[in-house]
Structures are given as C-alpha cells and as structure tokens.
Amino acid sequence: MIALAMGLGLAQTPSPTPAPPPPATAPLNRNVIVLDAAHGGVDSGSRIGDSTLEKDVTLALAFRLRSLLTARGFTVVMTRENDAAQKPGPPVAGSSALTLDDRAGIANHAHAAACLLLHATGAGDGVHLYSSELDSAPAQAAVPPWLTAQAAWVTQSTQLEARIGAALQRAKLPLVSSRASVRPVDSLTCPAVVVELAPQNDDRNSITDGDYQQRIAEAIAGALVFWAQQVQPPPLLPGGHAAETAVQP
C-alpha cells in the first residue's frame, strides 16, 4: 500500500500554480485621439498678425488633423468644432461656454491614446511641443487629484512628445521641444502633448498657409499611427478600477 501510495504520489504531476493576474492598468482606447483646438468664442487667444487670431488657426489645424486621423482609422474626439466652444446639451444662458476643465473632462472620458492640445503663436519658428512639467508619479490612484492627474501619465506624454518630435524633424520642420504647465494639460488622464504652431521662417502669414499646416498635420498623424500601437497605459494603485484595462480596437 505504501509503495502504491508512493508510486501514485510520484506519478502525480505538480498542480500548475495559477499565473498571477496582470497588473491592472488605466483604461485606454488605442483608436481614439482627442484634439483640443484651444480658445474659441470670446477667448480669441493671442493675436498673430493683423487679422489672424489664435483660435482660428488652432481650429483649422484641428480640422486638418481630424481628416488625416480619420482616414487612418482613428476615432477623433474634438472639444470644439466651431468658433465658440459650447457645452453639450441645450444652451443655458451665461453658463454654456466650455471651460478648460470641461475640455479636460471630455478628453478624460474618451480614454484616448493621445490628447493633443493645439495652440498657435506668432513668436518663434516651426512647431513647439510641450509636455506637462509635473513629476512622474509611479502609479495612478483610483481618484487622482484633479490638478495633478497627469502625473501618472507623464512618462507616456514625454514618449509621445518625442515620437511626434521625431516625425516633425523627419519632415524637416523646425522644432522646439520642452515642458510647460499649460492649462488644462495637468488635469488630463491620457498621454497629452501641447502642439503650438509657430510661423515658418519668421513669416507670420505662413501660419495660415494650407501647405504648411498640411505638412505638420501629416507628420503628426503618421507619428500617432505608430504611437497607438506601442502606448502602454500606466498601472493603477491597488484598490483602483481593476476591471478596467486596456481596450483593444
């Protein structure tokens, strides 16, 4: 009996230990891109030249980018599609204008693979890229503080900035890459980069040139195709939304 038992025991294969569950990560829709055309309505942004307003340039660039991204299979979420940024729903007197926090809310609900905040300036040359100045946080809390929610995504944002920067350089476009706290980038829970369009060769009129904007938009759209395949969302702290993981397209 003992020998039989030992034989059975020896014959038994060790039960496989269950593989540890993958760490919970923040939700991410790889085929969604958020475009925030900055300013709008009474907020015209900076004045670029005699008759060019920043809000008009950012909206024009956003439309170009949306066309290119949609053609590449992305779902594009825009925070505004006309001059005045309005809250969804029936207009309410005095409170229907979209605030910067509203824009961040739209972007955060999309769980996008990239959030691009589009700005324009008459100073400098080429394209200026900025990512958040916040220090990177190791993991994302279930309810991160609103004003520092981007901290968990700073690593991804920096990588996205580098990828877009490389694409712009390949397109032989002048580039300035830096970090800055631009509202509402620190409240975004997605890889977020501020794209500031500046004139070409110090010619302020070039900022509204269609060919110039198209070159920039094509370089960015190309970079986002590769970015969407490689982006990894940050892990969540224990107790976070464990059921929400990366959403594959």
């Binding site: 900055a38 300013h39 907020d43 942004g45 900076s46 004045r47 920043e54 910067l100 700005h119 300036t121 008459g122 100073a123 400098g124 200026h128 900025y130 220090d135 946080a137 503080p145 004003l147 520092t148 901290a151 920067g165 580039l175 300035v176 890459s177 830096s178 800055a180 706290s181 631009v182 509202r183 980038v185 620190d186 501020v194 500031e196 702290l237 224990p238 107790g239």
Partner: protein
Amino acid sequence: MIYKHQRIVFWVMVGCIVLMATLLFFERQRGRERILSLANQMPLDAPAASTEPVTLDLANDDNGSIHAEQRQMALPVEVNARVRALLDQLIAEYALPGSAHPLQQGSAVSEVFLLPLPVGGYSVNSAAAQRDDGTVASSPVAADPPGTAPINPGGELAVIDLRSTFVNQHPSGVEVESLTLLSIVGTLHANIPQIEQVRFLVDGQPRETLAGHADLLRTYPSRDTATPNTGGGQ
C-alpha cells in the same frame, strides 16, 4: 477810597502777571532751542544704503531660455518686502527698452504672503491604510497632493498676488507666459532659499491662466530655472 485788601489783590495780580510773562519768555526760549537742536540733526546728505548682490533669472524670448544675472540692490530686511522688491526689479528689467522678454512697465505684484509648509497640515499614511487583501482603505478626506510637505525645516510657500493690470497686458503664448512664471520662480529660488513652493493669485483671486496658456492654478516648486548651457530646448 481804596481798601487795603484791594491793594493787596492788585499787587498780587501784578506779581502773577510778571511771573507768567517771565515763565512764558523762558518757555519760548526752551522751545526755540529744542527746534534748533532738531534742525541740527537733519541729514544733509542722502543715506548711503548698503547694497547686496542678487541673482535675477532673466528670460529671453528669442531662444526660449532663462539665464542668471547678478545685480547690486538695496533690499529691505523684512522677507515679504524683499520678495516684492526683487520681483519689482525683475519686471522693471523686462520693461526696459531692448529687453529680450518685453513686458509692460508698472508694478506687477500687489502683495506677497509667505506661509509655513505644509499648508494642509495632514497626510495620509498609505502603509497604515493598506488592508490585508492589498486594497487601500479610503480616507474621508483627500490626501495632500504630492510635494506639499517642506523639503527642509522652515520651508515656506510664497503666494504672489499679481495685479490684474499686469496680467491683462501680458503677451499671450505658451512660451512667453511660461518664461515669465519660471523667471519669477527662479529668481525667488536664487535669493530667498526658504521659499520652496510658489503659487499665484490675481487681485487676490485664483485665476486659471496668465494670458490664456500658462497654468496659474498649480503650485510651482521653487527651483533653478536657468537654462543649462549644454542643453535646453532643442
């Protein structure tokens, strides 16, 4: 017929008048001497104020950089007044003709408040909040945002209350606005070491951005913002 007691009263009154006149004369003399002695103490030359070297982190719009420059300034002793004097000097530099970061002339800072850190005064012990199953017990109050504790004992938060006249006339743009804020933060870091964090108000109220771009709601850590010679930008 004049009675004796009337004569006595008369001479007493005359004596009093003489006594009062004498007293008045001497008091006048003393007052005159006192005023003359005060006049002698009036300074005849301007006081020679002792200046000290200060470091201003000056922004340059042309290349988006910040570089440190030394200046000699007479600064007040009181810390709040020192901060105001430093920032007034910084903005005055930008208002000079030919400035690399031109800003409107005028006073930019309304008030400066220095608060000891941490302002909230509490923090959540994450180790104690960890349950056996790995989850974290939720706290009824929000945890302090990261980085609100002082790095060194005596660390302070500087709240800079800017004037709306300065903010409303500030040039709009990501770079130009960021350079102004970083220039202020860097100048405070270089000269007032106990300031570890900087926040901004406009006319006593929180405001989202400086001129549509740079974040005025966040707390800026005090740090050296001068662009290194070997890098920066691209």
